[in-house]
Amino acid sequence: DGHAKEVKLGVIFGFTGPIESLTGPMSAGAEMAMKEVTDSGMFMDGAKVTSVRADSGCIDNGMAVASAERLIAEGVSGLVGADCSGVTGAVLQNVAIPNGMVMISPSATSPGLTTMEDNGLFFRTSPSDAREGEVMAEILVERGVKSIALTYTNNDYGKGLADAIESSFKAVGGEVTIVAAHEDGKADYSAEVGALASAGGDLLVVAGYLDQGGAGIIKSALDAGAWETFGLPGGMIGENLPKTIGPDLNGSYGQIAGSQGDGIDNLVKMVDGAFDATSPYTPESYDAAALFLLAMQAANSTDPADYKDEILNVANAPGEKIYPGDLGKALELIKAGTDIDYVGASAVELIGPGESAGTYRMIEVKDGKNETIGMK
C-alpha cells in the first residue's frame, strides 16, 4: 500500500477477565484514532499506524508483563494501556521503564499511580479517583443528600474511589453509614445488599463496574426494595446499565470524567454505531492513542525518548483546540509549527505528573438514558 512507513502502537487491555466487556469498545476507540490518523495521510510523511493488541488479563501481572514484553518485541512505539491499575503498575515497572517505553493508560485511575516513579514515561487520560471523590461529594451536597451507604468493587480502583468519596463527603458534613466492598463476578449479592440496607442512608453509592458486581448490587437492591435511587460514579456510567436495569434506574445520578459537547459528540458521530463510543473509558482510549500520534508528530520521531516530552505540550493549552475527527488537521498544524491543545473526546488536560485534570460530566438517568445535565 501507499504508506511509506508503518508505526505500531501496542494496545494492552484485559480482553479476558473481569472487565472483558469494557475492553472491546476501548480498544476499538484507540484503533479508531489510529485509523483516522492513517487515513489522513498526514502522519510522518504518510506512515501507516497499526495496532497490536495484547491481553493484560486485567488482574494477572504475569500475563500482562509477558504480553507487554511481546509488544516491545514486536517493535511498538508506544503502549496504549494498561487498563486496570494493578497490571498497569506492573507493566510500567517491569517493561516500560526498563525499555524506556511510554505508556498512556486510558483507565488506570488509582491515586497510587500519581506518585509512582515513572521516569516521565507514564501518562493517563483519566483523572485520579481522588478528584472524583470531591466532585461526587459536591454533587451530593447540592442534591441535599445527608447520608449515604457506600459499596465499592474490591480492587484498587474501587477502594481508592470509595476512600475518596467517603472522606470528601464527610469533609462536607455528610454521613456515610457503611462502606462495604463487593467482589466482582460473584454469584449473588444478597448478603451485601442486606448489610447495606440495614445500615440505611438516603442514597446508595455504588463505586463499581456497570456490568460487573455494580449492576448486580443495584439489581438486588431494587428487587428487595431497599433503595430507589443510586449514586453512580464513573465506572457505573454506560449505556448498558439503564438497559439492563430498566426504568427503575430513572432518577439515579452520578458523574463521569469527560467533557460535554463537541468532543464526545464528534466521537459518537464518527463511530456511527460501530461500537459504543460512550462506553466507559472508550473516549479516553481514543484520546490516549491520539496523544501518542500527535506527540510523535510533534517530535517528528517515533522514539519514546524523543516524543515523551511532547505529550504534555500537545495535550495542554495554549494552542488550537483539537477534537475527535480533527486529527488530520492537528497533524497539519503541528507540521506547520502551530501549537495545538488536544481536547479530544474526554477533555484532555494533563496536569502534574501527567494525568488528566478531570472535568466531569454530571449524569442523570432519564427515560432509560444517561443524560448529561451539567459539568463539574
Binding site: P18, E20, S21, G24, N154, I178, A180, A181, H182, E183, G185, K186, A187, D188, S190, A191, E192, V193, G194, A195, A197, S198, A199, G200, D211, A215, G216, K219, S220, D223, A224, G225, A226, N240, K243, T244
Partner: protein
C-alpha cells in the same frame, strides 16, 4: 407492629434471598454431586456446562420472543428450556464420546479426569464467549414479581417491604421437584440402582450385566438437564454472563462437599448452608434489632459480625467447621 416489621425485614433481606440463592446453588451442586457420585470425578466443567445450556436457551428465547411467542406472566425462557436441555445433552454426550470415554476405558486416575474436565472448561468457556460474547445478556420477560416490596408496603402499611420474585419462586419450586425426582430415580428405579452399582464397582457392575456405556449416557443426560435448568434459572434471576458461571463453581463445589459429595440430599442441604452462612454472618442486624429492642437499648453500631468483604471467607470457615465435625459432609457422602 414492630415485631412484624422485624419479621418482614428478616424475611426480605435474609430468608427469601437465602432460600433462593440456596436453591440455585443446590441445583448446580446436584449436577456436580451426580458426576462425582457416578462417574467418580470432580467435574470442573460444570459451571461452564451451565453457561452453555443457558446460552442455548437464551438464543432460543430470543428466537421465540422475535416470533412473539410468550408465556404470559412466566418467562418465555421456560418455553425455550427444553431446547436448551436437548442441546446440552447433545453437547455432553459428544464431549463424553470424544474426550472422557478414552480415559474411562483406560481406567485413568480420577485426578486425570479432573484435569481433563478443566481442559473442557476452557474450551466451553471459549466457545460460549465466542458465540454469545462476554457481555451481560438479559433474556428475562414476563412478570418480575410475585410480591413486590412497593406493593407490599402499600397493601399492609408496614414500614418494611417484602419482595418475592417470580424467578425466586420458580427456582425454589424447581429445586424441590428436581431433588424429589432424582432421589426417587436413584433409589427406586432399576436404572438408578444400576448407576449406583456402576459407581460403586465398575467391574462388578459389568459382571452383573449392567452396560457401563448406558449408565454413563444416562448420567450425562441427567447432568445436562440439571445443568441447563440451573444455568437458566440463575441467568433469569441475575443475568446471563459467561464469566460468572465459572465463578459459581466455587460455591457450588462448596455446597456439594458440605452436604456430602455424591449425595443428592446433601447437595440441597449444602446449598442452603452456604447461602445462609453468606447472608447471615455478614448481615448488619441493626435493622432488625432496632425494631425488637426498646429505644434505650438500640444498638449504636451496625451489629455486623464481619464486613461483607469476608462473606466468602465466612462460608468457607463454616464449611471447615462442618467438615471437622462431620468429615464426610452433613449427609454421609462418597457415593450416591
Amino acid at each position: 407492629m414492630d415485631l412484624l416489621n422485624a419479621l418482614i425485614a428478616f424475611l426480605n433481606y435474609v430468608f427469601i434471598p437465602g432460600v433462593a440463592y440456596g436453591s440455585q446453588l443446590a441445583l448446580g451442586a446436584l449436577g456436580v454431586t451426580l458426576v462425582y457420585g457416578i462417574l467418580r470425578f470432580s467435574n470442573f466443567a460444570h459451571g461452564d456446562t451451565m453457561a452453555m445450556g443457558a446460552m442455548a436457551t437464551v438464543l432460543m428465547t430470543w428466537l421465540f420472543q422475535s416470533w412473539g411467542i410468550s408465556l404470559g406472566p412466566l418467562p418465555t425462557a421456560l418455553l425455550a428450556l427444553p431446547f436448551g436441555i436437548l442441546f446440552t445433552i447433545g453437547l455432553l454426550l459428544f464431549t463424553d464420546r470424544t474426550v472422557y470415554r478414552f480415559y474411562r476405558v483406560k481406567k485413568a486416575k480420577p485426578v486425570i479426569l479432573v484435569i481433563v474436565s478443566l481442559g473442557i472448561t476452557f474450551i466451553y468457556n471459549g466457545v460460549t464467549r465466542f458465540i454469545i460474547g462476554a457481555d451481560d445478556q438479559n433474556f428475562f420477560d414476563g412478570e418480575r414479581f410475585i410480591i413486590s416490596a412497593r406493593d407490599f408496603k402499600k397493601a399492609t402499611g408496614l414500614a418494611e417491604g417484602l419482595s418475592f420474585k417470580t424467578t425466586q419462586g420458580i427456582t425454589i419450586v424447581t429445586a424441590i421437584i428436581v431433588v424429589a425426582l432424582l432421589f426417587w430415580f436413584l433409589n427406586k428405579t432399576r436404572a438408578g440402582k444400576s448407576m449406583r452399582a456402576y459407581s460403586d464397582n465398575e467391574d462388578l457392575a459389568l459382571l452383573s450385566g449392567i452396560n457401563p456405556e448406558r449408565v454413563v449416557m444416562i448420567t450425562w443426560m441427567i447432568v445436562a438437564t440439571l445443568a441447563t435448568i440451573a444455568g437458566v434459572l440463575y441467568g433469569l434471576d441475575k443475568s446471563f454472563k459467561p464469566f460468572t458461571y465459572f465463578q459459581l463453581l466455587l460455591p457450588i463445589f462448596a455446597s456439594a462437599i458440605v452436604g456430602g459429595l455424591g449425595n443428592p440430599l446433601g447437595a440441597i442441604a449444602g446449598g442452603f448452608v452456604i447461602a445462609f452462612s453468606e447472608v447471615t454472618i455478614t448481615y448488619a442486624w441493626k435493622k432488625i434489632l432496632v425494631y425488637l429492642m426498646p429505644e434505650s437499648l438500640e444498638p449504636s453500631g451496625l451489629v455486623q459480625l464481619l464486613s461483607t468483604d469476608y462473606k466468602f471467607a465466612v462460608s468457607f470457615v463454616i464449611l471447615l467447621i462442618v467438615l471437622l465435625f462431620k468429615p464426610t459432609g452433613l449427609f454421609k457422602g462418597q457415593s450416591v
